[in-house]
Amino acid sequence: MTSPEVVRPFPDSEEMEVSFGPQHPATHGVLRVMVKLDGERIIDAKPIIGYLHRGTEKIFETETYNGTIPHTDRMDYTAAATNNQGLVGAVEKLMGVTVPPRAAYIRMLLAELQRLSSHIIWLGTHALDIGAQSPFFYTFQEREIILDLYEEYCGARLTLNCMRVGGQPFDLPEGWTGRCKAFVDQLPARIAEWERLLTNNRIWKKRTVDVGVISAKDAIEWGLTGPPLRGSGVKWDIRKVFPYDHYNEVEFEIPIGANGDTYDRYLVRVEEMRQSVRIVQQCLAKLPDGPVMAKVPKVIKPPKGEIYFSVEGPKGELGYYIVSDGGTKPYRMHVRPACFINLQALPEMVRGLLVADLIAVIGTLDIVLGEIDR
């Protein structure tokens, strides 16, 4: 094996090009960034992706519609429920299926718990990257309970495969709502605990305030969605703009930041966790009775046509574009991956910063390489 070496295109100056990754614990997967440095300063950064490419979109074309659902679990593996939700929502829209209210509420419950769990992972690992080790241990305790709730519902902890075209495969198990309520009721106190560790921490603020700033105009130009867009002060959330399931029946706020820096994105995500707790509590209180599966044919066969449907995933707008030729398999199914498009703005955000800030910005974008490479 050759040892990793630093390429120096300009040997006389201080400029050098360093390959950051693809195997580095702070890259959250197999991301490689070619960083051009002048001493510690980043002159330019070029993300290189594709190490985890599995041809998911090609595989979609060989599966039946319900058969594609497990493949979506493996894209953003920290947020399988919202991936499922986007896919089944798209197929249902193309077929004109109305989901029974109980199924829609169960979907919202699962999706919001997923948002909590995804943000919890993000908070733990982001803090760990920046050097605060203790939040990681506190946050993962709570995530464990969410995974237990999932396990009880569908048997899986990460790759959930927990939704079907037309509704939900199972009803909630007995006592699940009680355990879920007990969990979310104590969560705000835990979130406050995590915030006590970080929000006013002087080191945390030094590492995040004014780091990776992106203005609202640039954020829109670069197509950012989710917390990176809201951190720049754009009040935009698919759950409010194009409400799916029954999001129009629950009350929640969209938190926004002011400066578009890493610290604001941190505050936005923490507040989003509180809002998710609110949504889960309302869903549990309103959970209607009734069937969980609509009357859909055994063989899912949407009519000819094309549809785009998106949900607000924990990372941003997750969209599915489906082209059907009237058969049992999708003719083309494209995913609009939120992380892929958010990562594209990385060079824009890190130019002129220090190498250590690159870690903070990669963390704040909350990328999952499984979704970027698909």
């Binding site: 094996m1 050759t2 992706i49 594709g50 490419h53 041809g55 979109e57 090609k58 595989i59 074309e61 060989t62 829209k93 193309l94 077929m95 004109g96 299926v97 109305t98 989901v99 029974p100 509704g167 829109i220 130009e221 670069w222 197509g223 754009v234 935009w236 703009v241 194009f242 069937p291 609509a294 009357k295 859909v296 949407p302 009519p303 000819k304 046509g305 094309e306 549809i307 785009y308 998106s310 707008e317 969209g319 574009y321 082209v323 003719y331 083309r332 494209h334 609009r336 892929f340 498009i341 594209q344 490479d373 698909r374």
Partner: protein, 205 residues
């Protein structure tokens, strides 16, 4: 039995909920008169070749050569500041051009979304819209990588998900799902000097 007979007609009389009935798929409608399509036709006459609407989503087909002009007009004059998605579809046997390139735009003022579509023959270049929306950069690279559609005036048209030197475009319909022989050795016979066990000298199996 008698009681069941009595109950059954009552249940039938109750109005059925939408999820208990057979789903009614949305209809494909001509959308030339749709306000979103008319807006484009008003500022760019002759640009709208076809317009369809399905489930409230309007698709406007425009000429390939004018996509940058249409995109620029949509962004500057119709306020579609946000390009949500850009992808392609392969219709292998279609006579009027093998590929569809699809642009999905959003505007924040009234949350309207509009889909632009162009038809492209194999080997024909598409003008790049990276000058209009910066976000199109990686999206066009992905389409190039997966479909082999070339984008003219793209700042950096390289493969993005597969590696440089990969032969073929995976999402084309004639690309086999099993994959192709790329010539790259998965388990090379010759190990790099200085590393790896020598065959037949112990070790695993």
């Amino acid at each position: 039995m008698g009681e069941q007979d009595k109950v059954a007609p009552q249940e039938q009389a109750a109005p059925k909920q939408p999820w208990e009935e057979k789903p009614v798929p949305p209809e494909l409608k001509d959308a030339r008169e749709h306000p979103l399509a008319k807006e484009i036709a008003a500022i760019l006459p002759d640009a709208v070749l076809e317009a369809f609407e399905l489930a409230g989503q309007v698709t406007v087909t425009v000429p390939r050569e004018r996509i940058v002009e249409v995109g620029r007009a949509c962004k500057d004059r119709l306020d579609y500041k946000f390009l949500v998605d850009l992808t392609a579809v392969d219709w292998k046997e279609r006579p009027e051009g093998r590929f569809d390139v699809v642009y999905w735009m959003h505007r924040f003022t009234d949350s309207a979304r509009l889909r632009l579509k162009i038809k492209v023959a194999d080997g024909v270049e598409v003008p790049s819209v990276t000058g209009v929306w910066k976000v199109a950069n990686w999206m066009e690279r992905e389409v190039f990588d997966m479909f082999g559609i070339y984008f003219a005036d793209h700042p950096n048209l390289e493969r993005i998900l597969t590696w440089e030197g990969f032969n073929g475009h995976p999402l084309r319909k004639d690309f086999p799902i099993q994959g192709i022989d790329t010539g790259a050795a998965v388990y090379p016979d010759v190990y790099p000097p200085g590393g790896g066990p020598v065959a037949g000298e112990g070790g695993e199996s």
